[in-house]
Amino acid sequence: MELTGAEIVVRCLADEGVDFVFGYPGGAVLNIYDEIFKQDKFKHVLVRHEQAAVHAADGYARSTGRVGVALVTSGPGATNAVTGIATAYMDSIPMVILTGQAPVPAIGLDSFQEVDTVGITRPCVKHNFLVKDIADLAATIKKAFYIAASGRPGPVLVDIPKDVTIYKHAYEYPKEVSLRSYNPVTKGHPGQIKKAVQLLLSAKRPMIYAGGGVVLSDASKQLIEFVKLLGAPCTNTLMGLGAYPANDPQFLGMPGMHGTYEANMAMQHCDVLIGIGARFDDRVIGNPDHFFQDEKKIIHVDIDPASISKRVKVDVPIVGGVSDVLDEMIKILKASKERPDEKAMKSWWSQVELWRSRECLKFNNSSEIIKPQYVVQTLHQVTNGEAYVTSDVGQHQMWAAQYYGFNKPRHWINSGGLGTMGFGLPSAMGVQLAHPDAQVACITGEASIQMCIQELSTCKQYHMPVKIINLNNRYLGMVRQWQEFFYGNRYAESYMDALPDFVKLAEAYGHVGMKIEKPSDVEPALKEAFSPKLKERLVFMDFITDQTENVYPMVPNGKGLSEMILL
């Protein structure tokens, strides 16, 4: 039997086991929407802006490890989706984005709602396709899912001209695909792995630096075992938070620009550093020349060869998947009689503890004015540290990362690489749909939340009881902080006047709004929001916080890791 292209698209998604598609209709995808109307295999979620469709699919993917799916129309639908696609690309999130396109004969004629979607998105997708022939449609969608989820994950876009959704063709969903030009390696080189273990065992000051790759490969368990076997300190990047439990004594917190004193000092002064699924980002390493002033050997495990020796020269490169490579390393460590030098480790740890005793995250709490850090700490208590927390971008994001204390992977959902304001609320929608019974909090700022505020309407339609924690400092706080530190207190365009009344706004969308102005009201408000009474409701908590608060520690741009500004 022959199916139309639109039927094929919908069948492919069903056969791929997709349960949610986030999207927004328009002319070029009307045939696909008509087929969605007729099926019940997956649920379509109608967002209010295409950027949010992609962020929601992204939140779904980050919190489940499955491929997120978004569907948008041609032209403005596709261009609106670009920010979401670039966000997912920078953080290596597996996604498939389907876009409508002008009919094949109309392509190139400046037709209605025609843009060169493949051209526009080329630099921010793992791969993309334009399907000009219905005969290729099913196989292309299969390839898209395969490429998105394998190797270093990433978003893959499939652009489907409208006429392709009308033509008919026999349907068969390929069980497997293989591409001669794409063969990601997962097993690491055994010789290199042995060498790495040797180096780690001979280290006097070993340090483990684990990133988003550990989360992406679901290798948290292996990481914990590995860290325990070595007895070394461990840090997680912003993207890796939760990969190693924050409440474990071997955890030093996050490294980098807003990392802890102990993590940064240990990164700087270790003699052997192993990077595991972390990409030596400029926000983490600081000034690379300064980083190497203290000599160290570096081992780097990454599935993407291009991540290795990109910003930092590596001594022992290991191309492979985190989980495979850690399995091997654990095997070797267990079989080996050699153990880390006990005396050296003891003195390394006493150094680390000395750094830790600086208590760099201590802040001056107040009984007069709400400190944002206090809100995050209290959120941790109220949710037992078990909530899924999404965030936007700015100071509130850093405080969430520093003070929530993530003990499990896939619970911290934020835009690290692109730093996309507007990510928090829509990504929380994807998380909430994937985990309907879980507590989902979105920690945001009054500026970021306004970038996708329209999604409050989506939350109403689909009963998404997200708890929004708005750390309202009436400033583009992160911008203001840089202006205070580096621009002589000239607060150019970082103050936002005429903010909406968020309580009324939440209510206008049909939700519960709360305004919290006193520190003593923080805990009761959070408890109420997360109480059974409001379990089914979205609660928008507008916390009026200290406007002058800054994020510490801070490694100024271009400075070395050990040159932190501390409170």
């Binding site: 080329r122 630099p123 001669r180 030009s181 060869p305 291009a306 020796s309 020269k313």
Partner: protein, 163 residues
Amino acid sequence: MRHIISLLMENEAGALSRVAGLFSARGYNIESLTVAPTEDETLSRMTIVTRGSDDVIEQIIKQLNKLVDVVKVLDLNEGDHIERELMLVKVKAAGKDREEMKRMADIFRGRIIDVTDKTYTIELTGPGSKLDAFLEALDASVILETVRTGASGIGRGDRILRI
């Protein structure tokens, strides 16, 4: 250092722009780029001449390998190789210049492939440096037009790039 990178990629619409886009997005320099189908019609072969430090060249190779349409990449500079480029030059060839121009073409083993009473068009093949040398040997004022294909390269002996 100057490197000649050869690659095989899927002969698909858009594959060329992926490579060109990669170079511009990451700020790698391209001295020349040539591309044409191979005896296997599903594959195109591209030759890119670029410059960069060893670290940059290593990144270029890795980034090229990462493109889903790219099947194989070879840095020809890693071993013995032959480089050839074709150039067509139209020069003034009137009066006393005419004989001199013919002599120059002969010295460089060029061929005159089009003749008018005022011009010659000379065809020249060789490594890029030879073509440069030819142009330098001419008086700039006699050159009317040049067109170069960019370098193609191939490994010597049994160094073979195929799938």
